[in-house]
Amino acid sequence: MVYSEKVLDHFANPRNVGEIENADGIGEVGNSKCGDIMKMYIKVEDGTISDVKFKTFGCGAAIATSSMATELIKGKSVDEALQLTNKAVMEALDGLPPVKVHCSVLAEEAIKAAVSDYYEKQGIDPEILIEK
């Protein structure tokens, strides 16, 4: 199994690691039994994601996809963030080994969970916003 240069770069130098105090949305997905947990924090200003941070327990691909997913939504509108797909995360990383595709799915879910949490805090039902 070989990781792309980009995956290794995002693993070695992960962007946006950390937490946000008083975050507007927090999402956590995965479980320790499966070996991956991702926790994402977002700060929203005027409908735009002004800051995003993550903490991840997992393999190299889990950390790299978390890092890339946060980069892809930073500065975007909340609605745009909801459109983020695991495919976009994978493409931005120049691909993932087949056994690691689930990491990109988890990263997409973590972003969606954080945005859903933001909407719930705003009193909006996030279900209707998420395209299934």
């Binding site: 199994m1 290794l8 693993f11 070695a12 992960p14 690691v17 956590e28 320790s32 039994k33 499966c34 070996g35 991956d36 947990i37 991702m38 926790k39 903490k55 991840t56 327990f57 997992g58 393999c59 190299g60 889990a62 950390i63 087949p98 056994v99 689930h102």
Partner: protein, 394 residues
């Protein structure tokens, strides 16, 4: 940057002395040992001289009990399928093995389940050691074979092979052991230890890849696995890998000759590293500390995942491995660590280091410095570690 190869249980570097012995058999003495002319005859002589020395080094009564194979996996497959199928005709349909065998044994047993065999998987307890009394209790009238590894490939625990051998001999059941990791580190004597079949490979002992052996005690019924020519007394077809056999013999001889001194040195390095790394909070050593290969360190660090640890170690010049199946394409953690009772979330954070004669004290000190740094770095970005710390505070 310092480069440390710490994955000698995966494979080893070919010893220059072994290579030197092999070279003539790749160049001048290229003949087929089965042929009539001199260049074939010389190859045959080398093959049989190696067989004789290897038999002595393993305590075999006769050189003819040594069969050369392509390596550990073939030997395990042949031993188990060969004996099981030979005895099925006599109404035997039961095999006893342990929960933490190498997949070459476990998957072979699973394949025999499809042929109607019943398999008993013995517990290995928290210390990673099979109990001979459990073997005795599991033996039935229909038991064809007991297969228990000599030393575990992940956690390095050495099994009570002589005791298990004695139980099997007393009950009239054949006993196979996978000694792939143990050979060269423990004193093997198949006769004294009542071993009926033993698998071994060269590349874990600074020998070449692609060559191994199966010891089969005379009189043990075994069906052929590789059909074809009459090589290996008609039991294992294929033109002999003469250079490989010469390399296997040379590697085993070097390993046996220097065993005591090397084991002493390696055990000291091992213990020094384990003691140092156990100072990391929420770390643990996997498997018995005493009945353990002198070159094996296997530890878990809570709150982090093994693959990211290994990648970080690689960035720091340390080649290590993990039992983590992340690397083998499954989401399940190591079956060995689960067998010794670790919960999934802890088993995910494992690291195996396996050393060789070339490992130095400076290497050990470097590893002892780097691992805690990497563990701290990964824990700082781990939401699982955050949870563990919060629960501690409560």
């Amino acid at each position: 940057m310092r480069e440390i190869y710490a994955d000698n249980s995966a494979t080893t570097k070919l010893s220059p002395a072994v290579l030197e012995k092999m070279l003539p058999y790749l160049t001048e003495v290229y003949g087929n040992p089965s042929s009539i002319y001199r260049v074939g005859g010389r190859a045959k002589e080398a093959l049989e001289a190696a067989r004789e020395r290897i038999a002595k080094n393993l305590g075999a009564a006769r050189p003819g009990e040594i069969y050369f194979t392509s390596g550990g996996s073939e030997s395990d497959n042949w031993a188990i399928k060969g004996v099981a199928r030979a005895l099925k005709k006599k109404g035997k349909n039961h095999i006893i093995t342990s929960k933490f065998e190498h997949h070459a044994v476990l998957h072979t047993c699973e394949s025999l389940e499809k042929e109607g065999f019943e398999i008993t998987y013995l517990d290995v307890y928290e210390n990673g050691i099979v109990r001979p009394a459990d073997v005795a209790a599991a033996i039935r009238d229909t038991t064809a074979l007991v297969s228990v590894m000599y030393a575990n490939n992940e956690i390095g625990t050495i099994q009570p092979i002589a005791e298990i051998g004695a139980v099997c001999r007393e009950r009239g059941v054949f006993f196979h052991t996978d000694a792939v990791q143990a050979a060269g580190y423990v004193k093997i004597d198949v006769t004294a230890q009542n071993i009926d079949l033993l698998s071994m490979t060269a590349h874990k002992l600074h020998g070449p890849k692609g060559i191994g052996l199966l010891y089969v005690r005379r009189g043990v019924p075994i069906e052929t696995l590789i059909h074809g020519g009459a090589q290996e007394r008609g039991k294992r077809a294929g033109t002999e890998n003469v250079a490989g056999v010469v390399g296997l013999d040379a590697a085993l001889q070097i390993a046996v000759d220097g065993m005591e001194a090397r084991n002493k040195k390696l055990a000291a390095l091992r213990d020094r590293l384990i003691d140092s790394l156990l100072q990391i909070e929420r770390s643990r050593i996997n498997g018995d500390r005493v009945s353990r290969l002198p070159n094996n360190v296997n530890m878990c660090f809570e709150g982090i995942e093994g693959e990211s640890l290994l990648l970080k170690l690689d960035f720091n010049g340390i080649s290590a491995s993990s039992g983590s199946a992340c690397t083998s394409g499954s989401l399940d953690p190591s079956h060995v660590l689960l067998a010794i009772g670790l919960p999934h979330e802890i088993a995910h954070g494992s690291m195996r280091l396996s050393f060789s004669e070339e490992t130095t004290e400076e290497d050990i000190d470097y590893i002892a410095r780097v691992v805690p740094e990497v563990v701290t770095y990964l824990r700082n970005m781990s939401p699982l570690w955050e949870k563990i710390k919060k629960e501690e505070e409560l």
